[in-house]
């Protein structure tokens, strides 16, 4: 299997794209079942590994790095449009 994504820590709920992924392309990474991305994902950006309800912590490196601002579906791009910093909320 040629990996195109990376799960940094087993606790993480996001996976990192290792290259640009086209909408519908399958996420392939060690330790997880493949799933399709719902939209185009730029390289190095985050993809939801499972459904993340609004207000839930985004976990990367096994630690909380942000909080979701709305429901994020599995396979959706996770970035500043659907999360916020846990400190200094907008």
């Amino acid at each position: 299997m040629k990996e195109n994504s990376l799960v940094i820590h087993p606790r993480d709920n996001v996976v990192v794209a290792l290259r640009n992924l086209a909408a519908g392309e399958e996420v392939k990474a060690k330790g997880i079942e493949g799933f399709a991305v719902l939209q185009e994902i730029p390289a190095s950006h985050k993809i939801a590994l499972r459904e993340i309800p609004a207000g839930e912590e985004i976990i990367k490196y096994g630690e909380t790095v942000a909080v979701s601002t709305r429901l994020i579906k599995k396979g959706e791009w996770v970035h500043t449009h659907n999360l916020e910093s846990k400190r200094w909320r907008k």
Binding site: R19, A43, S44, K60, V65, H79, L83
Partner: protein, 389 residues
């Protein structure tokens, strides 16, 4: 294992280079320093934008500490200090700190003899000093005298799994050899206090880590107000990072995994060995100015280190981490680093940076549309500790 060599200084420290430093005490004499730089290009000439007009005790302390530390720097064999005369950090005020350096130091003031004469005298002095120090020989440098600083820049979401991890591996390797490693950038530690304190040597160090990061967070809030959550750079966001906590989690990897033995202030010399955490901002020029006087060689000043500085940048995961180390003797460290990057790196072939779907444009728009009145007047909670070098 190949040994490294350096120049043994009278105070027991070792430099990996033997520079003649020509430094301004204040920005007003930068023209003179630049002129000497043209005449003696092999000298390390340091113009800068400080020296006056910064009043608080805290700022004065840092100013004197950094200027004096540059003179004391083990990679510096001799010094030409160019002063103006009326500035806060004038040569007379600096003298008590620089005369302890136990190396040739000559001072000139523009207000004594004018710019052209000062440039002429400074040029002659720099040439004289090269002749004076050229006979010094390199000797074996014990690993436990090596001090390396780690710095990262141009981060993206891959820095924390590529370049910074590689730098961390080098940190661990050096600490294992008995050397010391400094890392800092407190802005990029916001959100990681609970991770770093687990590695503190004792409760006192843990408390200092928490205090340092809390202050960085508070300062960011004071300066940026409602825009605090945008503290990471537009390029960081385009590269896939969304928050400061995410950036921080990647940033702290450059310090490796060993015990944090000491927390030192901006410009303060460590007294412990092993891994040292230094208070100082994440903005690279300021961060380097902080670390450079004691350790690293880095781009703004081109002064080589008491060792060198590892500079890890993970732009687009291409692992462009490199050592700006001073001496050929340290090149093998660079090779080691490259090997670690290749072995540990998960990505080698990322495509060119895509503009992250306008995240930074949105950020800029938000900043531009924020009413001026909502942005607080800059009020830094600097402690006004007593002046002390």
């Amino acid at each position: 294992m190949r040994e490294i060599t350096g120049y043994e200084r009278k105070n027991g420290k070792y430099g990996v280079r033997n520079h003649v430093l020509v430094m301004a005490t204040v920005s007003c004499v930068n023209g003179v320093v630049n002129r000497i730089s043209r005449e003696v290009p092999e000298a390390v000439c340091v113009p800068h934008s400080y020296g006056c007009g910064r009043g608080s005790a805290r700022e004065t302390q840092i100013l004197f500490r950094i200027l004096a530390s540059m003179v004391h720097h083990p990679n510096v064999g001799a010094v030409v200090l160019i002063g103006l005369g009326c500035e806060r950090s004038n040569t007379k005020a600096l003298l008590p700190f620089v005369e302890k350096a136990e190396k040739p130091v000559e001072l000139f003031n523009v207000q004594d003899c004018g710019s052209l004469q000062t440039a002429k005298k400074g040029t002659e002095a720099a040439r004289r000093m090269f002749a004076e120090i050229s006979g010094q020989q390199r000797v074996p440098l014990p690993w436990d005298r090596l001090l390396v600083a780690m710095e990262c820049g141009g981060s993206d979401a891959m820095s924390g799994v590529t370049a910074n991890v590689a730098l961390g591996a080098v940190s661990d390797w050096l600490v294992g050899k008995g050397s010391s490693v400094i890392f800092g950038e407190n802005t990029e530690m916001i959100g990681t206090a609970h991770v770093l304190t687990r590695r503190a040597r004792n409760e006192e160090v843990a408390k200092k880590i928490v205090a340092m990061i809390d202050q960085a967070e508070q300062r960011t809030e004071d300066i940026m107000g409602p825009l605090a959550s945008w503290v990471i750079s537009p390029g960081n966001m385009d590269g896939g990072m969304s928050t400061i906590a995410e950036k921080s989690m990647g940033c702290i990897h450059k310090g490796g995994t060993t015990t944090i033995n000491q927390v030192v202030d901006y410009g303060e010399w460590p007294t412990e060995k092993g891994l040292i955490l230094q208070d100082g901002p994440g903005y690279d020029d300021a961060g380097e100015g902080n670390q450079l006087p004691h350790t690293p060689e880095l781009n703004p000043f081109h002064i080589a280190a008491q060792t060198g500085c590892a500079y890890g940048t993970g732009r687009q995961g291409q692992s462009t981490a490199f050592f700006a180390l001073g001496a050929h003797d340290l090149l093998f460290l660079q090779k080691l680093l490259v090997r670690i990057i290749v072995e540990r790196s998960v990505v080698h072939e990322l495509p060119p940076l895509q503009n992250g779907k306008g995240a930074s444009a949105a950020r800029a728009a938000q900043i531009m549309s924020t009413p001026h009145s909502q942005i607080p007047i800059r009020n830094l909670p600097f402690p006004c500790s007593a002046f002390q070098l």
